[in-house]
């Protein structure tokens, strides 16, 4: 299975969260919003110029900065 970050997903592509490439602080905030290991995540789109990325997790839509998104590691669905 290949592991990529959220940034590398194509718009509309679904994946499963497999880990965080960051310190505890940031991942705790993401987890509180429902983005955590094992969850299905779908990238809705990203802004150009390293702008924020929007994802859908369960019933929630979340916008997050590019840097943060690059630290969320996912496994794209087949």
């Amino acid at each position: 299975m290949k592991k990529v970050s959220l940034v590398n997903l194509a718009d509309g592509e679904s994946a499963t969260v497999v880990g965080f490439d960051s310190g505890h602080g940031a991942s705790a905030r993401l987890e509180a919003m429902g983005i955590r290991v094992g969850k299905k995540i779908k990238k809705l789109g990203g802004m150009f110029m390293k702008g924020p990325i929007t994802v859908e997790v369960g019933q929630t839509r979340v916008g997050m900065g590019h840097g943060m998104a690059s630290k969320v590691m996912v496994e794209p669905d087949q």
Binding site: G45, K50, Q59, R61, G63
Partner: protein, 569 residues
């Protein structure tokens, strides 16, 4: 007195629940973080009077911003917790529920937005959820009031759950187990609305859409504002109020000390609401005739925008740009609020995570964001010279806002944190809530502005009549005349701007300034110094040192920009 706390994730409807329980109105909107400070109210539980507290939303009990810190401190003081849960987002909300249950305080779960969950194909087994959690669970729809009789009844029966401390991982495991047992989601096709959601957040379609929304909002605000002035306020004043005031003027002898303070100076034998400057003429007209129409139209449009859920999308779209100014996208919300009044705008900067961001956002709002009252007067004074002078004022402010943000971002140590923001679904703004909110904001404006406006007009008259006016004008003349190219008499409006900027703007008219001078004066007034209400909030939110810093920046920036305009226009 026992305390009941309303606690839950951001944007689950705590404030609407609070209004339902206590009858006290608080501002609610469709974006996370509307409530940044707690609000207290009271309700009767049978015979007993209890305090109800609307706590800012938080995702966990380990806070990440100032608004959340407030929430976490409050938790320790509650006797009963009503955990307001978003039924359309059960899984994410339950984490906080589990944390709250470990606090050794009785907990009741209000499963809010229960109707919307049903529409979205989400089925929740309430009995199973209640028995697993061991606390009462009541489905509610706060906007309509459904479920509130039961919620109140359950408060009597609330008991402290017996739960040991869990680790973060254990809690999430529990949430997972729980969800698989109590919730069923029927997968459904994407609706038209959802497609539209995607379009408004993608850059290629979203940015033009945002521009259209911005222009449309401005046009509607202007249309309603001018409409109210021309077809309601002016006719009312001219046909009913002016004759009354003229009678009073005659009674007072048509001139003299008291006449000029109460009615104002007569211009060509009649009252000119912009120039007479009496308490009952200009003092009353500025607030009711010129500013109130714009307050109503601005807050109506803002209310619709807030409750539709559009603002968080705008935040995502503008994030990249706002990072250049040391902010992140969500800072657009306080900024937009600032266009109504800088006070709530600066209060709302609490949703930003770092002190640095709050400083930048507050300073930029005070400098580059003119409030409705000031804008109404700028439009009133400059409007009949065509669009260009107005455009020059707005453009100067906008450019100053950007350039200053850019400089502050470079000059201040640290960096701006990244955006992490929940995007709520679009909702049709509930008209009842939009109008109650409008009523509440208009009332607050009238209560807060009136005394200060009247005091301002009174002080202007006293300074003028006592001769202090000339003294002040002579002291500041070198800067005002030399640098800004304004007559000496323009010192007073700038000083009065500290009290109310709308009154200050009104004082410019009798001076007979040229269009260029009016443009310079409008820009300087907007940027120069915050009005007293804003200044007090700055002091409270930033502390004395940072406020001094922000104020120094404002004074310097306004003189610099005013000077530039004076030389290049």
């Amino acid at each position: 007195m026992r305390k009941i706390l309303l606690i839950g994730n951001p944007n689950v409807g705590k404030s609407v629940v609070f209004s339902r329980l206590t009858g006290v109105h608080v501002i609610s909107s469709n974006y996370p973080g509307t409530t940044v400070e707690y609000t207290k109210g009271y309700m009767l539980l049978g015979e007993e009077k209890v305090e109800v507290i609307d706590v800012p939303g938080t995702y966990t009990l380990s806070p990440t911003c100032k608004a959340e810190e407030v929430a976490c401190q409050m938790v320790k003081e509650g006797d009963i917790i009503i955990n307001v849960v978003d039924a359309t987002n059960l899984e994410r909300n339950l984490y906080l529920t589990l944390e709250l249950m470990e606090q050794k305080v009785p907990v009741i779960v209000a499963l809010n937005l229960f109707d919307e969950a049903g529409h979205n194909g989400i089925e929740i087994d309430i009995e199973a959820l209640a028995s697993w959690l061991g606390v009462p669970v009541v489905p509610t729809v706060a906007v309509t009031g459904q479920g509130f009789a039961m919620l109140t009844a359950e408060i009597f029966r609330a008991r402290t759950p017996v739960v040991r401390q869990h680790s973060l991982i254990e809690r999430w495991e529990d949430v997972g187990k729980l969800i698989s047992r109590v919730q069923k989601i029927e997968q459904r096709r994407h609706t038209l609305l959802e497609r539209f959601q995607d379009l408004t957040i993608k850059p290629l379609t979203g940015l033009p859409f945002a521009l259209v929304i911005a222009l449309l909002s401005f046009a509607v605000v202007r249309f309603i504002g001018e409409g109210l002035i021309n077809y309601l306020m002016n006719p009312l004043f001219n046909s009913f109020y002016t004759p009354l005031l003229m009678k009073l003027s005659q009674l007072l002898g048509g001139g003299g000390f008291w006449h000029d303070i109460v009615v104002g100076r007569l211009i060509n034998g009649s009252i000119d609401y912009f120039q007479s400057f009496g308490l009952l003429s200009t003092g009353l007209y500025i607030e009711l005739g010129a500013v109130l129409p714009y307050i109503i139209s601005f807050y109506l449009v803002l209310g619709l925008l807030e409750d539709s859920g559009y603002l968080p999308r705008l935040a995502v779209l503008l994030d990249t740009f706002l990072h250049r100014l040391g902010l992140h996208g969500f800072a657009i919300v306080p900024t937009i609020l600032g266009f109504g009044c800088n006070v709530p705008g600066i209060m709302a900067t609490r949703i930003l995570e770092s002190k640095r961001e709050r400083f930048i956002a507050s300073t930029l709002i005070s400098i580059g964001v003119p409030c409705s009252a000031l804008q109404a007067m700028i439009i009133g004074v400059l409007g009949h010279y065509g669009a260009r002078p107005l455009l020059t004022v707005y453009l100067s402010l906008f450019v100053s806002w950007i350039v200053l943000g850019f400089i502050l971002n470079r000059a201040l140590p640290g960096f701006s944190p990244e955006l992490l923001l929940e995007i709520p679904p679009y909702r049709l703004p509930p008209l009842k809530i939009v109008f109650t909110k409008l009523k509440y904001r208009v009332k607050a404006f009238l209560l807060e502005a009136f005394p200060i406006v009247l005091a301002g007009v009174g002080i202007v008259n006293l300074l003028y009549l006592s001769g202090l006016f000339n003294l002040l004008a002579n002291i500041a003349a070198p800067i005002v005349s030399g640098l800004l190219g304004l007559p000496k008499a323009a010192v007073m409006p700038i000083v009065i701007g500290f009290l109310r900027k709308d009154v200050a703007m009104g004082m410019l008219l009798p001076l007979g300034l040229t269009v260029k001078q009016l443009i310079v004066a409008s820009v300087v007034l907007s940027m120069f110094f915050p009005c007293i209400a804003t200044f007090v909030v700055l002091l409270r939110e930033l502390g004395a040192r940072e406020t001094a810093k922000a104020t120094a920046i404002m004074i310097f920036a306004s003189l610099f920009v005013g000077g530039l305009l004076n030389f290049f226009l």
